[in-house]
């Protein structure tokens, strides 16, 4: 996947995918992946921690009990 990338003097950035036509966009460089320093600062980057939802554990427990009732587990 290739992206148009522009870095701004204030430390900000803009990126979006290069389309099928592959035509260059003035003022943008083309990169194969989003640079790590940008990815780290975005939601979804390594510094973005998703809190575990306590409901997940309850759901897993419920599913285990259903499987047991159905005789699919011991």
């Amino acid at each position: 996947m290739r992206y148009f990338l522009k870095r701004y003097p204030d430390g900000g950035w803009e990126y979006s995918p290069v389309g099928r036509s592959g035509e260059p966009r003035e003022g943008y460089e083309i990169v194969e992946t989003i640079p790590q320093d940008i990815r780290d600062r975005e939601p979804g980057g390594k510094d973005f921690v998703i809190q575990a939802d306590p409901r997940d554990a309850k759901l897993a427990d419920l599913e285990a009990r259903v499987l047991k009732l159905e005789g699919k587990t011991a």
Partner: protein, 164 residues
């Protein structure tokens, strides 16, 4: 009045008789002329989890030309009309607008007070805000985005679904 149509009723006032016309919902929400009708939503089987596009600087407030254009053509099949994506706004809150790429029916300088239909999210705070929205695409699979506050940060995720 279109030739051959006849108003269903009339009203009278001091100036005489006047026809009453009713604009129906069908007419108000008719498809754009030439737009193919129908279509089916398809789930993207295994969407990439990162951002397909992001902009954290260089905005001009209330301006599509000073905004972000995203070309989805490399990630959707030919014939795609719209995509459903998650969009995150962070750092500063405000209104995010969208339009089909280059749609001249929508002002290049949208106004928060009178163009509600093109809002896709309003974040009243400076914290994270996420919306899952439908974005209509141009014939070349692009969409334009604009913000009301030039310090807003926007990240757009890979499409979850596409309409074709």
């Amino acid at each position: 009045m279109t030739s051959g149509t006849k108003p269903a009723e009339y009203y009278r006032d001091q100036y005489g008789m006047h026809p009453v016309f009713t604009i129906t919902q069908d007419l108000l929400y008719a498809p754009v002329s030439g737009e193919p009708s129908g279509g089916t939503w398809h789930k993207v089987s295994d969407p990439a989890t990162g951002g397909i596009a992001s902009k954290t600087s260089g905005w001009t407030a209330d301006s599509f030309s000073g905004g972000l254009t995203v070309d989805f053509s490399s990630v959707v099949p030919s014939g795609t009309k719209a995509v459903r994506v998650s969009i995150m706004n962070f750092t500063a809150g405000g209104v995010l607008y969208s339009r089909k790429g280059g749609d001249t029916n929508i002002s290049d300088t949208p106004n928060t007070s009178n163009e509600y239909s093109h809002w896709i999210l309003l974040n009243p705070t400076d914290t994270y805000f996420v919306a899952q929205v439908v974005i209509w695409l141009s014939a070349t699979y692009t969409a334009d985005f604009a913000v009301s506050i030039d310090t807003m940060d926007i990240q757009i995720a890979y499409p979850l679904e596409y309409l074709i």
